[in-house]
């Protein structure tokens, strides 16, 4: 028995055991729902056959039906705007805050910690708060913008088709800001200080130091932050029911919310699954691009 254990510990057996366990976890936790979802997107899923595995296959009918929905292109456009707008805002502001708090002034780390409050709050609560801030008639944001002279009349953030998607983006930027800042701060702290000192001796100004030291050293961190940001943004759900319910007239509807709406509001489970498979392909594509772009560094 102990010989077997020794063989297991020292030999290939142990490796196989580890890989096997990891694979098992992956298949059980991530693979099974994914496969079930893909399966559903090719089946005719009836409300009363939801619990059954063997349902009639319909080929690509669900995909054709989803693309033919009147709101399909609007939702696609909104999803791209939502992802691009949210990620840009979260990243740029998060980076700026991380750089700001990297200046070791008194209380810097405490205040940075306080920023995390936004990150631990549930999305529904954040949505409710922003729903007040973004209200058209008495919302705080309009009051501030008006007193600064930026706008003349109230903007109806949640109800104006030109702004509704931005209402959700603004709330989502606020929600994801702290997480971005935190990851980027960790990345910044890992850069050796003597690099900056040497550069300063060589006469490099602040911008040059940022461009030639900070950015290149931060590349792996930035890649991780952006890919996590993409996944987080595509997953965002709570803010939509709290702020706009995808309205008015789907102008703030995005793929994630639409998929939920199709499945659990309209009980069209097959189309809901189809939309989430489409989203999965999008994330997969982005991940492959990211992995390929960073491959040489990892091997570095």
């Amino acid at each position: 028995m102990s010989r077997f254990l020794n063989w297991l510990r020292d030999g290939v057996g142990f490796d196989i055991l580890l890989v096997g366990a990891a694979l098992l976890f992956l298949v059980a936790l991530a693979g099974a729902p994914l496969i079930y979802n893909v399966l559903m997107s090719f089946q005719q899923v009836d409300m009363f056959t939801l619990g059954v595995l063997f349902r009639p296959f319909v080929g690509f009918d669900n995909y054709v039906a989803v693309v033919r929905q009147p709101e399909f292109w609007l939702v696609t456009r909104n999803t791209l705007i939502f992802v691009f707008g949210s990620m840009t805002g979260q990243f740029v502001l998060g980076f700026a805050l991380a750089l700001f708090f990297a200046q070791n002034f008194p209380g810097a780390s405490t205040i940075r910690g306080l920023f995390l409050v936004s990150w631990v709050m549930p999305g529904l609560v954040v949505g409710a708060i922003w729903s007040w801030i973004l209200a058209g008639d008495f919302g705080v944001l309009n009051v501030i913008l008006k007193s600064l002279g930026i706008i003349q009349s109230n903007i109806f953030w949640k109800s104006d088709p030109n702004f509704s998607i931005w209402a959700v983006i603004i709330a989502n930027i606020w929600l994801g800001l702290a997480f971005n800042m935190l990851l980027l701060s960790v990345g910044l702290a890992a850069i050796p200080k003597d690099l900056y000192e040497a550069a300063e001796l060589d006469g490099a100004n602040a911008f040059q130091r940022f461009w030639t030291i900070t950015l290149p050293m931060m590349r792996p961190t930035i890649g991780a932050v952006l890919s996590l940001g993409l996944i987080g943004t595509l997953q965002q759900f709570d803010l939509f029911p709290a702020l706009t319910e995808g309205g008015p007239a789907n102008t703030s509807n995005v793929a994630g919310f639409w998929s939920w709406q199709l499945s659990f509001q309209l009980y069209d489970f097959a189309k809901g699954a189809t939309v989430s498979v489409m989203m999965f392909l999008l994330v997969l594509f982005a991940s492959v691009v990211y992995v390929r772009s960073t491959r040489h560094e990892v091997r570095g």
Binding site: M47, F48, T49, G51, D137, F156, K158, A249, Y267, D268
Partner: protein
Amino acid sequence: MQFTKLGLLAGLAFGALIAATPAYAQVTLKVWSIDGVDRPGIADTYSKEFDDANEDIVVEYRAVPFDEIVNETLRAFATGNAPDIVSFDNPDFALFSSRGAMLDITDRVAASDIISKAEYFAGPLNSVTWDGKLFGLPKYTDTIGIFYNKDLFAKAGLTEPPKTWDEVAEYAAKLTDPASNVYGITFSARAGEEGTFQFLPVIQMSGGGADMVNTEGAAKVLDIWKSLIDNGYASRDVLSLGQWDSTGVFNSGNAAMAISGPWEIDRMVEDAQFDWGVALLPTIEADDERSSALGGFNWGIMANTQHPDEAFRLLEYFVDQEDRIFPEFGNLPARGDIELPVTGIEKKDAALKVFQEQLQFAQPRGPHPEWQKISKAIYDAEQQALTGQMSAMDALNQAQATIDTIFGK
């Protein structure tokens, strides 16, 4: 030591449990509803009463949150674990009855001494009827009307509430006062069931219904609503406000009229610092046919119950206690033969009388098994028209095209 004590205690408890179980066979009925999640409701209270009063029947009550009850029941039905009695929001009911998931109780009701089909309002009764058969009974109901601020009306020289949508626009113009932050009217055109709930009555009073939404009258009223928003007589935020928040604006004196239902009355009595009243929902032309939205829940016995007789007895008990649902739970009975007791609060009693009258004109949403898809087509069209993305008629025509595919035309 601790362990043995605990074991002894458990043993005693178990023994007591066996001793307490009666020797004869008992029937267990499972009841699901949304009641009793945050405060006592109709279903949990009556289930317990029936359980206590009947030795031969055990009622197991389960409170399921509003957002989950349809999915939870679908799943339970598919796997054979469905409850015996369940309660759904009325537009969700047809989904189950049309697919044979609810027990046909037509004959049982006809033979019952307690239940009388004739006493129910037409709207609620329609929502439990499918293919001419009765698959359930209304639990309670509600509807909408138009609340108005009598003080602001007097200030604007108006004495009567508006009777037509043209009058609504005319009055809203007179009542709007931007200097005091007062809008003429508020309502809910939110992207969701609430948006449909407030707009469908207009479609119905114009001669349309769930299967026909592109009527001249509906387009006309949509244009009126759009002009209310464009002229600043109603806030643009009606497109994102739910009914509860929208009526909050009325209660705070920032809107002179509000479209909403009887669930607002208690809060209004407390919050509104002015004289108010409620009137029947306006019509398109004077003396037009009336309609209003139908809210509320229904009871039903699920088709795969093992104990249909006992389940029907329980249903009879629920119906027998319906004169208590207004005084104890604040819900309106779906029957015309139940007199609402006077509360002594003058504004509240007057308002309830109007809603009781309005209930006679309340029409169900659907009934149709794919109601939610029809509803989305309707509120999407409403919002496209109100935001000016499409003309009212174009938006309604587009909704009609979607609805035609649902009805298989």
